[in-house]
Assembly symmetry: C2
Homo-oligomer: 374 residues x 2
């Protein structure tokens, strides 16, 4: 039996926790000091359900860092090497936040709510403290806080139909990575077409604690014939989709270039960003890559080598029931890897071949055929 | 069954994790993005063992924020309202870190290693990011990093004897909250008389990963006749001892005065601290107090009231097998509390009387007699 998570006030519960527990949550992680479910039936059963139906996720652990005031843009631009100077209101932007050495501090979604009000919808580091430190030190005219907002995600191929039943047909008009206020029981809350899966869906930024359970219950009541179920960010779906996780696949010791996030760094931008000077001179020493291991049994992966030399570390790993292979991300030392196109993956059943491939996985190019659920 | 903790690379394992698992850990929390055990046999069995014998704790989750350079003192003094201007090398200092509003960002042990090298041995928020933000913004001549250091604590009444067998008799000369380098297999590592219990003991700041398991194993081998066992910060012992926990009992929304940490704020100090101006004007609106509930059965505590009005929130709670009562910390709204000396504690078995008392608990004054283990 795996050790249980000891829950305390420090591992914050959310307005949805009672429903998550009633739905039979079997595993948790702690993310931004907050409970985040990891599985309900099993990671694989949850995966198939997510790919075929619609799920409601308590993602309150996606905390918002609200940055407001005349210097809001200036502060956010200092933190990211992505050029946000032309950002439009009502848009979401995936932004690496980088320190002056180019290391990744966080990879939030930046949301421009008004000209002087932004949210950073953060991954698992205390971005608020970094932003507050910078704001104090640079004497910026901003407030930096973590407002009481508890996002709930509606994810899966039937998400749009379910959302339309609860929020009205106009929710269908929200484009990918756009956000706008929608009304629920007369209260305006931000709704974005986004979420931590590639199955499509929405995130509702619930800002009124008293509406959390009514909304949750209505999503389940109106989704019964859509086979709605409880869910959470799913490891298998995440790895198949090539979605990176801060702390697992990247962090302070990796740069956006080393993690394949090149498109989110604007080296030529004429903006004041803490990390751009270092990133302009940066020569990557490592590279996050995909690995495919053609093996169906459960694997405990140990180290990875090429020609008997350590080449790096597996950062995330899942068996893909759809493709019948193990998929992993590996952070490779480029000098150690050299020209190798495959690596040796040492496991509890011995050494296996791992085929290297760029991320996200291109299953067509890999000649992997999706199988139906068995 | 309580949900398990899903372990990933993000919930960092430590050099000791294999031994912690082999010792039968039953519960974990995540603290500074790192695994921290919460129980082995049971919280109560672990408690009695800690009070009577000696335990070895993997407290790698106590991360060190290393601040080095000519401006190291200046940066640390900005972060804390405690006057560190006369701090001596080789001493440990419990320091609230406070934001410009006086709210508590963290409550680390500050360790002065050399004139320009400090460690902050932190509780569960990313102090490194705050310190880096301030250092960048104020253009300070410091480096701020999280070095590879994995503290292991040796706690309990027999801790000194066990430590002397491993590190030599001179370890007995280390005074409370003093720290000095000691040698283990020829490698110098810092050893302090400190730890997150009131049972006495030491913390060893292991700085060489290859020595982690040899040290762990030697502590167990040499402590066999002392009844050494695996352990971890213990909820019962912590509450009995009045030790506060960041995120449970205090945080951004509480000031040191509201949590009874007055002695760590030097209002008259002539130092440059971000929070002192606000703390000098601060009028506490709430107060963390002790509560004693004379009841032996297991309790689920709900809300707390006085005259039918909500007065605050229970932040930590444990049944004390030694005193046969429930002990809790409660963060009381001072306007709501008024002159009440007790509160009504609403539980699953109905309303119970809770006697308010200052922290730490004074069991003599409360007429509570310690009982032997039954």
């Amino acid at each position: 039996m795996n050790p249980e998570l000891s829950v305390s006030r420090r591992t914050r519960s959310t307005p949805f926790t009672s429903r998550v527990e009633a739905a039979g949550v079997k595993g948790y992680t702690v993310y931004n000091h907050t409970l985040l479910a990891t599985k309900f039936r099993s990671v694989e059963e949850d995966y198939w359900h997510l790919c075929e139906h619609v799920q409601v996720w308590d993602v309150s652990a996606e905390k918002q860092v609200a940055i407001s005031g005349p210097d809001a843009y200036r502060l956010i631009q200092l933190m990211t090497p992505r050029d946000l100077s032309k950002a439009r209101i009502g848009r979401c932007f995936y932004v690496p936040l980088c320190n002056p050495q180019g290391g990744i501090v966080n990879d939030p979604i930046a949301i421009k709510l008004t000209e002087n009000d932004w949210w950073l919808s953060i991954a698992d580091t205390d971005v608020m403290l970094w932003a507050q430190g910078l704001a104090i030190g640079f004497n910026l005219d901003v407030s930096v806080s973590e407002p009481d907002v508890w996002p709930v995600a509606v994810q899966g191929p039937k998400a749009e139909d379910l959302m339309a039943r609860v929020f009205g047909e106009s929710v269908r008009d929200i484009k990918f990575f756009n956000i706008q206020p929608m009304y629920y029981k007369g209260v305006a809350m931000q709704v974005a077409r986004s979420g931590w899966s590639k199955q499509g869906g929405f995130e509702i930024y619930v800002n009124d604690e008293s509406l959390a359970l009514p909304l949750w219950d209505e999503l389940f009541a109106k989704g019964e014939d859509l086979n709605v179920g409880p869910g959470c960010p799913n490891l298998i779906e995440r790895v198949e989709s090539g979605l990176l996780s801060l702390g697992n696949d990247m962090g302070y010791d990796t740069t956006p270039f080393e993690c394949g996030l090149n498109q989110y760094v604007n080296l030529d931008a004429d903006v004041d960003s803490l990390s751009l000077p270092a990133l302009r001179k940066h020569v990557p020493q490592q590279q996050l890559m995909g690995v495919v291991i053609d093996q169906a049994c459960a694997l405990t992966t140990l180290n990875v080598t090429a020609d008997g030399q350590d080449v790096g570390e597996i950062t995330s790993h899942a068996f893909s029931p759809k493709y019948g292979v193990h998929l992993a991300f590996v952070l490779c030392s480029l000098p150690a890897l050299g020209a190798h196109l495959s690596i040796d993956v040492h496991t509890q059943i011995g050494m296996l071949k791992g085929q290297l491939t760029p991320l996200p996985f291109n299953f067509d190019a890999l000649n992997l055929i999706p199988k139906a659920r068995t």
